[in-house]
């Protein structure tokens, strides 16, 4: 198979659940895991006579996401009804946007392994209401839970610009970071806040001819891992199938396959794409949305620096490693915390180390946010600077931060003093101690002066004695310098 020359094409249809207070067209609160049919009202139940009223926050969240995805925001957009019958759809039409989406013609840049970026084009992003859920747990009957019905969804459609499963995963993760940064979605895949439906096929070059395999839409993907693995699986499956049957893409042979997470395979769900006629038409119950410059500018002002740009800046401006920059920028709260610490005068690299190695570690253990640990950004900054100035050792810095996790005392300097963590940097005092050590360890002094094999070990022993006499508080750098000066006399 390795001799087959092929190219993978993946486009994505992504549904992002917006983190608005209320539903898209009514005042019901959004709720995950609430008692079935407890977050419903006449509007989201589609009761006769009820009318939808647009949720402005959902529109603004979508504008914000659209802008972050480099889309044009339409000056005029409207609502359309998409008709189909399904028990989880109370009105038997979904309010969506058909020919005039809120955002269009954008792109998202994803980082590649070689450090470069790749643009994935976005065709459109439009707002719509989610359906409810059919439950099949009551024997012969199916039940419908409409808590989710009417939840605002942003549907994002990309061009088939991704050429590997890894690229798809990178885009998905980048998108998750972006919408979380913007605060427009919780973007938890397990909870269905972000649903990816990849369209996968291959272009195969054989004997100077190009063949396209039939497009497969993959559903039921509840994690990034599932997303990546399902595409890997599809690539192999489509290649095998092509080599076996020679089947190529035709009108109407697009199929839908569901990912089986346990067996790690895709399973055929729908053979042929049904010729759906959704009978779209403008919803007469809603008025079109006009976005003027003032409104657009107001939304633009809410944009923040996006994670990929931030990551680059951290490497460039603060000299952090790409890995560290990635860790810090993964979560906007962490990045903001880091930047607050830097603004408070903290040396970036030291702050980064304390934050990633001590702060984030503890936050993960506790399952809390970095801001909920106790020490503030300024405390991290001060501790980092004490370390930088040689007032404390790296171990002491870790101790100080750790003490702050549980103590009510939040002043790094006081903690250092109280716990005897300050380093002895007073050259005069250290010289006295060095002299004492030299006097009582003549053999080691002789070994150093003799040079050769024993020299280094002997010096280490002498410095160790100095540290012991100071109970570990001697600044090793300064103590070492004094020791070397004395030994060379």
């Amino acid at each position: 198979m390795s001799n087959v020359d092929y190219k993978v094409l993946v486009g994505l249809e992504i549904h992002v659940q917006l983190y608005t207070r209320t539903k898209m067209f009514c005042g019901c609160e959004l709720a995950f895991g609430a008692e079935p049919n407890s977050r419903v009202c006449p509007v989201c139940l589609g009761m006769p006579g009820s009318l939808p009223v647009m949720n402005k926050q959902a529109v603004e969240f979508s504008m914000l996401a659209g802008l972050a995805l480099n889309c044009q925001i339409a000056g005029f957009t409207k609502w359309d009804r998409k008709s189909y019958y399904y028990p989880d759809l109370p009105k038997n039409y979904q309010i969506s946007q058909y020919d005039l989406p809120l955002a269009l013609n954008g792109y998202i840049e994803i980082p590649l392994k070689d450090g470069s970026f790749k643009k994935i084009r976005i065709i459109r992003a439009h707002l719509e209401e989610d359906a409810g859920k059919n439950l099949h747990t009551a024997g012969n009957f199916s039940q419908v839970d409409l808590n989710r019905a009417g939840t605002p969804l942003l549907e994002i459609v990309t061009e088939p610009d991704m050429n590997s499963a890894a690229e798809v995963r990178t885009l998905a993760e980048e998108l998750q970071r972006i919408v979380r940064y913007l605060g427009v979605s919780e973007a938890d895949m397990q909870k269905g806040h972000m649903r990816f439906e990849p369209n996968v096929n291959l272009i195969i070059n054989r004997a100077g001819q190009q063949f396209k395999t039939p497009i497969v839409e993959v559903k039921n993907l509840n994690s990034f891992r599932a997303l990546e693995n399902s595409i890997e699986y599809e690539i192999g499956r489509q290649l095998d199938r092509f080599l076996e049957t020679g089947e190529t893409m035709e009108m109407g042979n697009k199929s839908t396959r569901g990912w089986d997470d346990a067996k790690e395979v895709t399973v055929l769900q729908r053979e042929k794409e049904e010729a759906h006629d959704y009978r779209y038409f403008p919803d007469p119950d809603l008025v079109p949305v006009r976005v003027n410059e003032q409104w657009l500018n107001e939304i633009k002002s809410r944009l923040c620096e996006l994670p990929s740009k931030k990551r680059l800046r951290y490497v460039k401006d603060y000299g952090l490693s790409d890995y560290d920059a990635g860790v810090l920028t993964n979560d906007r709260l962490v990045a903001d915390f880091f930047e607050d610490a830097v603004k408070a005068g903290g040396e970036p690299k030291r702050v980064c180390n304390l934050l990633t190695q001590v702060g984030l570690k503890r936050a993960n253990e506790r399952g809390c946010a970095i801001t909920e640990l106790g020490p503030k950004a300024a405390d991290f900054a001060q501790t980092a600077n004490m370390l930088q100035m040689g007032e404390i050792s790296a171990t002491a810095a870790t101790s100080i931060i750790s003490i702050m996790f549980t103590s009510t005392e939040q002043n790094p300097e006081l903690i250092a003093r109280e716990h005897n963590l300050l380093q002895q940097s007073d050259a005069g005092k250290l010289e006295t101690i060095v002299n004492e050590v030299l006097k009582s360890n003549q053999q080691a002094v002789a070994d150093v002066k003799e040079g050769g094999k024993k020299s280094g070990k002997a010096r280490g022993f002498l410095l160790g004695q100095v540290m012991q006499k100071t109970k570990g508080t001697a600044n090793p750098k300064i103590a070492g310098e004094i020791l070397d000066k004395k030994l060379s006399q």
Binding site: P42, L45, G46, M47, P48, G49, S50, L51, P52, V53, M54, R81, S83, Y85, P87, P90, K91, N92, Y93, S142, V144, D277, R279, Y280, F281, P284, D285, L286, V287
Partner: protein, 486 residues
């Protein structure tokens, strides 16, 4: 037989010359006697209404200042949601349907301290011009019980005409307030689209539907509009009052419009029956005597109004009625084999013939490949008709024409010929397409003693002026005082 108008009754109750209980009981006594013949109501709430009337009387006795309709027994068309009783839309599919909320207009009636005594019959889902399409019962015309009351608000107009309530609400999608008002000899107003909230009005054609009053007099009509008009945050298509303020429609009602210019489209009116035309001409003569001038107007696209209307209304209806599927509420078929059968059989059993016809028409009009030729073209015609009115109103204050081409026709006369039935709406449909207000006021009788209505149309949100124009005529005539001898 009620002699008082709604406003007169309200004033008498307020002055404690009579009581709401007395008036309500009298209405129910009349209902007991006449309703078996007329069939105006789908449901009545005698006990509840009398209790409420008693409460209102008590509050009046306590010196409380009450709402504009305090103690007045009114009826509501049964396509408006009420938490009490059922909301059936005269359809088998909703025959036992209870809704958890009140329509905004119902809330407003209650806030105005009206006594809602019952819910009136209609053509199923307001689709029809004779109330014969009701899936639940037949309403007859109180002037001739062998004839239709018109439709679709035939229950409300028959109830007002027969003295089975003091005033009522109807809904008008293509003439459903004005045409039955004309056929029953009462006043019916379709306000401007967006003047009255549609929240809780079970939708038929959402871009055309509008709730309005059906009353004995123009003054009552203004009173009812005072109560129901206004912006509603629950209805995005209701108009911002900063753009179109709601005024007190009673305040200047008696001020005649000076220098009134009336637009007439002679050729268009020529299609009406001779007796109808004569009555309209006579009415216009009265206005002329009052100093009005007549302007001939050109409405070139009006001939296409019916075609455009039946595309737009049915397209919207096909979508609006998709929710009646037996899954969430309403009629569900017994023992379906699968969920598809829940849909197909529940709908087949629940909907009547005309509703099915319109759903089919609308579904077809919206289908891919036909959308441009039908729905989109209809929208273009709609815009042209709007333009016709805009141009016409540059030359005149209002347009006068018949409401319906004929007086009340016989029950069963047109049921087998839907096209003929659709043509009953020829004069009323354009106002819905253009979104402008229109009123029907009694202007005479034909030789069978059947009432004839004069239709007056005016620019969007000019209800105040429209009512004043109607009032000028009513003050000169006694047609509105005539009541059927039922």
């Amino acid at each position: 037989m009620n002699q008082l108008s709604a406003k007169q009754l309200r004033d008498k109750i307020a002055a404690r010359q009579t009581s709401s209980v007395e008036a309500t009981k009298a209405v129910f006594a009349r209902i007991a006697k006449i309703e078996p013949i007329v069939g105006a109501y789908i449901s009545t709430f005698e006990e509840q209404a009398i209790a409420r009337a008693a409460e209102i009387d008590k509050r009046i006795a306590g010196g409380e200042k009450l709402g504009q309709l305090a103690g007045v027994p009114v009826a509501v068309k049964d396509n408006m949601c009420t938490t009490f009783g059922t909301t059936t839309c005269a359809s088998k599919i909703l025959a036992n349907f209870h809704t958890p909320y009140n329509a905004t207009v119902v809330e407003k009636l209650l806030e105005a301290d009206a006594v809602i005594i019952g819910k009136t019959n209609l053509d199923e889902f307001a689709m029809g011009s004779s109330t014969e399409n009701s899936g639940l019962k037949q309403t007859v015309n109180p002037w001739d019980t062998k004839r239709v009351p018109g439709g679709s608000s035939g229950g409300s107009t028959a109830a007002v005409a027969a003295g089975l309530c003091y005033a009522a609400l109807g809904s008008d999608t293509g003439g459903s307030i004005r045409q039955p008002a004309s056929l029953c000899g009462v006043v019916g107003l379709k306000p401007t689209y967006g003047r009255v909230s549609r929240y809780g009005l079970v939708a038929y054609g959402s871009s055309l539907d509008q709730i309005g009053p059906i009353t004995q007099t123009v003054e009552d009509c203004a009173l009812m509009l005072n109560v129901i008009a206004g912006h509603d945050t629950a209805d995005s298509t209701s108009v911002d009052e900063k753009i179109a303020p709601v005024v007190d429609y009673l305040a200047k009602l008696d001020e005649p419009v000076k220098g009134l210019k009336i637009g007439i489209a002679s050729s268009f009116n020529a299609g009406a029956d001779e007796q109808v035309r004569k009555a309209i001409d006579e009415a216009i003569k009265i206005y002329r005597n009052l100093g009005a001038t007549i302007v001939e107007i050109d409405m070139p696209h009006l001939d296409y109004a019916i075609a455009a209307y039946y595309m737009v209304a049915t397209a919207e209806a096909s979508s609006n009625l998709a929710r009646y599927d037996g899954v969430h509420y309403g009629h569900r078929t017994r023992e379906p084999n699968d969920y598809i059968e829940v849909y197909t059989k529940s709908r087949a059993e629940g909907f009547g013939k005309e509703v099915k016809r319109r759903i089919m028409l609308g579904t077809y009009a919206l289908s891919s490949g036909y959308y441009d030729a039908y729905y989109l073209k209809a929208l273009k015609v709609r815009n042209l008709i709007r333009g016709d009115f805009v141009r016409a109103f540059e030359k005149c204050d209002c347009i006068m024409m018949p409401v319906a081409p004929t007086t009340a026709f016989k029950i069963g006369e047109k049921v087998d010929d839907p096209l003929k039935m659709y043509l009953s709406d020829i004069y009323t449909i354009a106002a819905n397409l253009a979104g402008i207000p229109g009123i029907s006021i009694p202007c005479g009788f034909d030789n069978k003693q059947l009432p004839i209505g004069l239709q007056i149309l005016s620019p969007a949100f000019s209800e105040e002026k429209l009512l004043r124009i109607a009032q000028m005529y009513e003050k000169q005539t006694d047609w509105h005082k005539k009541r059927p001898l039922i």
